[in-house]
Assembly symmetry: C2
Homo-oligomer: 225 residues x 2
């Protein structure tokens, strides 16, 4: 039997990947950005076909990668990781610069960025792998450690959203599913704990439009722990 | 101007990727293994076309990924990272098991492994991206931290070999290149320092077949520091 816990031993960084231009841009939280060749320097970015940003990368032929530090504010994951750019402008009011290709680059929290021009696109089923040739790169904060997916998972208690390549259906994990009297629910985005005992209201009785009081993600993004 | 130092902010793990069977197998050190889809679970492995293992993956249609821990012995990088399986049998005397597909899986130092059946192959120039569907996964040591490329680079003082997707020509980095009277040379594999002053022999005067006394890699894999 496949032990899906082993998948957590694969290491990734945490990034905001953006595309578009100064009129129409969008971005999403990604952990699957990696270099694929050295000469010339080319990078792969893996993106769910349903992601709003996927269509924008296809249209504009470029993407930026903002490297997030360990200290990244939970609000960034709420905004870029658990909400769709179809519903609101994720870049509104955000500190953004525009690269050589015109692509928006999120500068808030960013410790380094890459800018790539798309040269290939591969179909791997539910996701595209976009291959981009590096056209620009800069370090903005050389002293902060990049956030890794492991850090996000273990320290920040974050989980991958459903569209992520590394999304894991919890039923695949061998964990105890014993019923409890009063339960705790954890926000997948920021790690905030909803304690039924403390709040005096069962989580299931909260209204459907209830949001995480810390980062604002939807009720459905909480996981029973 | 592109600041190539920014590329070190992209996070990776460190793995031994193997292919073949119990008669003919080989493996190499890789930092570019990552999940690309969740349903079904598929993984990408990026491999230089000149790597001996690349042809073996093509022939056998499978690969294994052994996750290395932070405490990985330098000898493993010397054996799997800086030498070619064309010259000797890397798996000889190694603790190996054979997976469901028959693929060799390096168990020495391994804290978890994945086994994949190749379903796609993409050409990205100097490298192939092999896409493999997960057929098995196991955790062997849940308490050890996986080694990251950043840890290998910063703590172990290791560098990527020339065939790696993340190989970086040092001349691209903005570092001082002032001449020195007596120089230090660092082993890219294990971090061993050759000190000309202490040894009394200039590094350039060492014979061409000189090897790192610690991990055994070739003279050409030392970098002047």
């Amino acid at each position: 039997m496949i032990d899906f816990n082993a998948l957590f031993k694969i290491s990734y960084g945490m990034y905001i990947v953006c595309s578009g231009d100064n009129k129409s841009g969008n971005g999403f939280v990604s952990n699957t950005v990696f270099q694929v060749t050295s000469e010339p320097a080319k990078f792969a970015s893996c993106c769910n076909k349903n992601n709003f940003t996927a269509g924008i990368i296809e249209k504009y032929g470029c993407f930026s990668v903002s490297v997030l530090p360990q200290k990244t504010d939970a609000e960034m994951f709420g905004r870029f990781g658990y909400k769709s750019g179809r519903d609101f402008d994720k870049l509104e009011g955000m500190n953004v610069k525009y690269g050589k290709t015109g692509v928006p680059i999120v500068m808030k929290e960013c410790i380094a960025y890459l800018e790539c021009k798309v040269v290939q696109k591969f179909d791997v089923g539910t996701h595209w792998i976009f291959i981009g040739e590096l056209v620009d790169a800069e370090i903005l904060d050389g002293s902060s450690e990049p956030m890794t997916y492991s850090y996000y998972h273990q320290v920040k208690k974050g989980a991958a959203p459903k569209n992520a390549p590394t999304y894991l259906d919890k039923s695949k994990l061998d964990i105890s599913k014993a019923p409890v009297e009063s339960a705790l629910y954890k926000c997948s985005a920021c790690g905030h704990i909803y304690d039924e005992k403390k709040e005096g209201v069962k989580f299931s009785d909260l209204p459907d439009d209830w949001k995480c009081p810390v980062c604002g993600v939807d009720k459905e993004d909480f996981i029973k722990i």
